[in-house]
Amino acid sequence: MDALEALDEMNRLLGSTDGETVNTSMRLPVALRDAAALAVAQFGAAPSTTTMTAAALRHALETLVMETSLRLHYEQHPTAEPTLGEVALALAAQDGSPLADRPDLIANAAVAVAARRADADADDVLLWAEAQLEVLA
């Protein structure tokens, strides 16, 4: 099975509405299990430790699928990869932020942030741009 086939199968499995459950032999550190039990019992973090574990696992897998699908797409279509500034602008629009109307400010913020932090993400850019907006106000 190659990467694309694995991704397709993961997508199929994660999109399945089959609610069948299974007991697994997955081993968890005892301390982690006990901390999760306390989080559920004392802080209502989830209906049960099983629900909490399944939700965390689903979140991690869906994030991996989303990131991998984008990475493989960029490999096949390099011009489709948005810049850091373009991703930040998209998030500003989704957030309904006034920054969505300031692509110039976001583009400059992306350059400034990326120059300081190689692993910066779009929210770092938005925070920087928001600060610039405050300063300019």
């Binding site: 989303m66 990131e67 699908s69 998209a90």
Partner: protein, 136 residues
């Protein structure tokens, strides 16, 4: 939790790497991935009536590429069909847009975003729902 709903134009742009709007729609999914890395729950959904309008047949070999993006179907089940019919009657919109309105109303997300090329139409079908409409 945020749900990003795609309309016909957004699907068409996502499906075609040569579309002028492709990179813009991909940027929205990349933003979703970025937020997920920060622990936020963000999902992308497509109403099935939109898939019909966009001719997105998940079983077609030509759909293999777009199928890889984790965009989940929101089905037009009987309750959704009833809501969509009410929207259609009130707005005289098309079936796909009416299904978008029904989808927005049924999502449990606290935050719903619709990617569309027709903000006015989407505003009409989502009139009673809190939604952020993004022009693509």
């Amino acid at each position: 939790m945020r749900s990003i709903v795609l309309d016909n134009e957004a699907v068409q742009a996502l499906a075609d790497p040569h579309s002028a709007k492709h990179r813009g729609v991909v940027a929205h999914l990349a933003g979703a991935a970025s937020r997920r890395r920060r622990g936020r729950v963000v999902t992308a959904v497509v109403p099935t009536a939109v898939r019909v309008e966009a001719a997105w047949d998940r079983t077609a070999p030509s759909a293999a590429a777009i199928n890889r993006f984790p965009v989940r179907d929101h089905t037009l089940d009987p309750p959704a069909a009833d809501v969509a019919a009410q929207i259609q009657r009130a707005t005289s919109t098309g079936v796909a847009d009416a299904h978008i309105g029904a989808t927005v109303r049924s999502l449990s997300s606290t935050d719903v975003v619709v990617l569309t090329s027709d903000p006015a139409e989407i505003a009409a079908v989502c009139s009673s729902a809190r939604v952020t409409i993004v022009n693509v």
